[in-house]
């Protein structure tokens, strides 16, 4: 424990140190630090028990104005009422709780609903230097603007509602440096999947990771969100990217972003949110993006990943006996053979969506691959925009037509098949190329088989009915 570390003036500090120290409410030896929460995002699945807890104890929500709710996990993506009675009850509970406690709710049909990690940045609620929490592990997404953002459980949701603070042990820090310039056809999704494949699904446990390096600087805001989103997939507490001109350009003019003089003052302050030269991290790892090839997961966690021009690995080649058994189990579940070429794996379904890859740039990138081509007749392909706003913008740009002309279904916003809490699920044995974040057993439907890929790779897989290398798509034979 080192609760009072690195406070002295003049000491080189990391981005994380700076954001953490700004939010310390109370500290004493042997106790966790009490940290102030600037923004608390709420959705229907992990909040009802927290609101019940408040009622039971007779406690109010301390800062309803710093709390924002949306409906995303349960909502159907086809028009019409919610027919599942349990889902409906959960959505009704959120509506009633927000009314009772005075919390702004972006309900289905409001025009501003969507996946909680898409609407936060899109509304400009997500800002550099903020502390942001949500009862959802992919809250790490918001770190892309230089916020300290992490997922919490329902007991912690109740704690934040009641106190606007969280007791936290100071995590360790790690610098993940992506060196080199990202080759054409590669995306942020390939960077983070490639990194997790090398560092392991528990490689980040206990750390807040700062993503840096030339390849990160070159990424758009939305691509940075893809990287930070998957921080939890290698166990990290949070992921962060230092804010820069890309960040400011993204935020300027958004609904909740500061305006006028306030904007100028904010940007001046945000410019200070970078790690000082010589700042020390508890760990430092480097990934050279020039070595990366489009990534496809073959197993049942995001670290079980291979390049599209590679093969399914042989479990016997794993040196750790635990890893070997886990790989054997994964191959049995995925119905794959060691040595099988990744680009010979046939798929039944394609899902383009989720808080990882459902923003406007993701849809543009996928649409560019799809334009003028046709989905393989054996494939059912789904595009689920991350928010109602993303959906509107895509329609204004004609992307919906590009997708539907090719044979994709164009759906309403929500989490959808990323976790299959709504009717969008895989049938047992179905195999899906998915732009989401988790390929766990049964994640997209009991017995379903998930392969994680970038939006471009998912789009290409839809056209060919198997995985193809998006870098050489034009040279692929037209499917029979």
């Amino acid at each position: 424990m080192h609760p009072r570390r690195a406070y002295s003036l003049g000491m080189a500090r990391t981005l994380f140190d700076k954001v953490w120290e700004r939010h310390v409410v109370h500290e004493e030896d042997g106790e966790p630090t009490l940290l102030y929460v600037d923004l608390h995002l709420v959705h229907e699945v992990t909040s009802p028990q927290a609101f019940d807890g408040l009622r039971l104890a007779g406690r109010p929500v301390r800062r309803p104005e710093l709390t924002v709710a949306t409906m995303d996990h349960n909502v159907p993506t086809l028009p019409g009422p919610v027919t599942d009675p349990l889902a409906r009850a959960q959505l009704d509970a959120l509506r009633a709780n927000c009314e009772e406690f005075g919390i702004t709710l972006h309900a289905t049909g409001s025009g501003y609903e969507g996946i909680v990690h898409v609407i936060g940045p899109e509304l400009g609620l997500t800002q550099p230097g903020k502390t942001i929490v949500c009862g959802d592990s992919h809250t790490s997404t918001h770190g892309a603007v230089g916020a300290l953002a992490f997922g919490i459980g329902t007991s912690e949701v109740e704690h934040v509602l009641a106190t606007q603070t969280l007791p936290q042990k100071r995590p360790k820090t790690m610098l993940l440096e992506f060196i080199g310039a990202l080759p054409a056809g590669l995306t942020a999704k390939d960077m983070i999947l490639g990194a997790i494949g090398r560092l392991g699904v528990d490689g980040g446990v206990g750390y807040v990771v700062e993503y840096a390096g030339e390849a990160v600087r070159g990424l758009s805001m939305e691509q940075r969100m893809t990287i930070c989103n998957m921080s939890i997939e290698w166990g990290a507490r949070a992921g962060m990217v230092a804010p820069d001109e890309t960040t400011f350009a993204y935020l300027e003019g958004r609904e909740h972003a500061p305006r006028g003089d306030e904007w100028e003052r904010a940007v001046k302050d945000w410019r200070s949110l970078v790690s000082d030269p010589g700042a020390e991290y508890d760990a430092h790892v480097v990934v050279d993006v020039r070595e990366l090839v489009p990534q496809v997961t073959w197993g049942t966690n995001p670290g079980m990943v291979a390049p599209v021009d590679g093969v399914v690995p042989d479990p016997a080649s794993f040196s750790d006996p635990t890893d070997r058994v886990a790989a054997e189990r994964a191959l049995a579940y995925m119905d794959l053979r060691p040595g099988q070429r990744i680009d010979q794996i046939r798929i039944d379904r394609v899902f383009i969506g989720s808080c990882t890859n459902s923003r406007i740039e993701d849809l543009r990138a996928a649409a560019a691959v799809v334009a003028g081509r046709t989905v393989d007749p054996r494939v059912t392909a789904l595009v689920v925009p991350g928010s109602a706003q993303v959906r509107r913008q895509a329609q204004e740009e004609g992307l919906d037509r590009v997708f539907t002309d090719a044979g994709f279904e164009w759906r309403l916003a929500g989490c959808s098949m990323c976790l299959g809490m709504n009717p969008d699920v895989l049938a047992p044995g179905e195999r899906c190329a998915s732009t989401s974040n988790r390929n766990f057993e049964g994640r997209q439907g009991r017995g379903g088989r998930t392969h994680l890929v970038s939006p471009q790779m998912a789009a290409a897989a839809a056209l060919h009915g198997r995985f193809v290398d998006v870098r050489t798509l034009d040279r692929e034979p037209v499917p029979a």
Partner: protein, 197 residues
């Protein structure tokens, strides 16, 4: 919350790495708005086949692991989703303590909040504990939070580390929100200093 000092009971073994919270409570059971009753859904897809029959091959279905209150698990236990339903399900099923080489951060925090012990030991030590479990008749183990020691089935005493503030809270069954609200003045001062009216 009830004070939690010592857990003594039957031990079960789930020696798999990276067990994620999606497995502990599959998504179809997250739509309930209650906090109780999740034990029936714990590891649902691993415990039951498509027809709802128990799968005899799954570890927790072994007769000698029935009624276990302590679980010995693999590294990175509880990774993935933040769903506290996973911790609720473990506790409702009967587990009061889980011992593993490492845990998913959010799961470990959730466990601490609801009064379930998530105890980290070196992988070699967890392996030794697993080896000491009698797979034919079952074994009993003690996890003593007060003394911070595990008593293995073979009687060996294994000390463990545990965050002191969390230990104090669990031993005394304290409400954490109540503890934080003792710092109400500090929270109000922070808000005033930062223009949060």
């Amino acid at each position: 919350m009830k004070p939690l000092r010592v857990v003594t009971g039957r031990v079960a073994v789930l020696d798999r790495p990276d067990v994620d919270t999606d497995q502990m409570v599959p998504k179809q059971f997250l739509k309930r708005i209650e906090r109780t009753g999740y034990g029936d859904f714990l590891f649902y897809d691993w415990r039951y086949d498509e027809d709802g029959n128990e799968r005899p091959g799954f570890e927790l279905n072994r007769p000698e692991f029935r009624g276990a209150t302590v679980l010995l698990a693999g590294r990175n236990f509880g990774c993935g989703s933040s769903r506290e339903h996973a911790a609720w399900a473990m506790q409702d099923y009967g587990f009061d303590a889980v011992v593993a080489p490492s845990f998913g951060d959010i799961f470990r925090t959730n466990a601490a909040k609801i009064g379930m012990l998530a105890i980290t030991l070196p992988e070699s030590e967890v392996d030794r504990l697993i080896e000491s479990v009698d797979l034919d008749t079952g074994s009993v183990m003690t996890v003593d939070l007060e003394r911070r020691v595990i008593v293995a089935p073979d009687g060996r005493q294994v000390p463990f580390e545990f965050d002191e503030a969390t230990r104090h809270r669990l031993l005394n069954g304290l409400d954490e929100i109540g503890l934080t609200l003792q710092h109400e003045d500090a929270i109000a001062a922070y808000e005033t200093a930062h223009g949060i009216a």
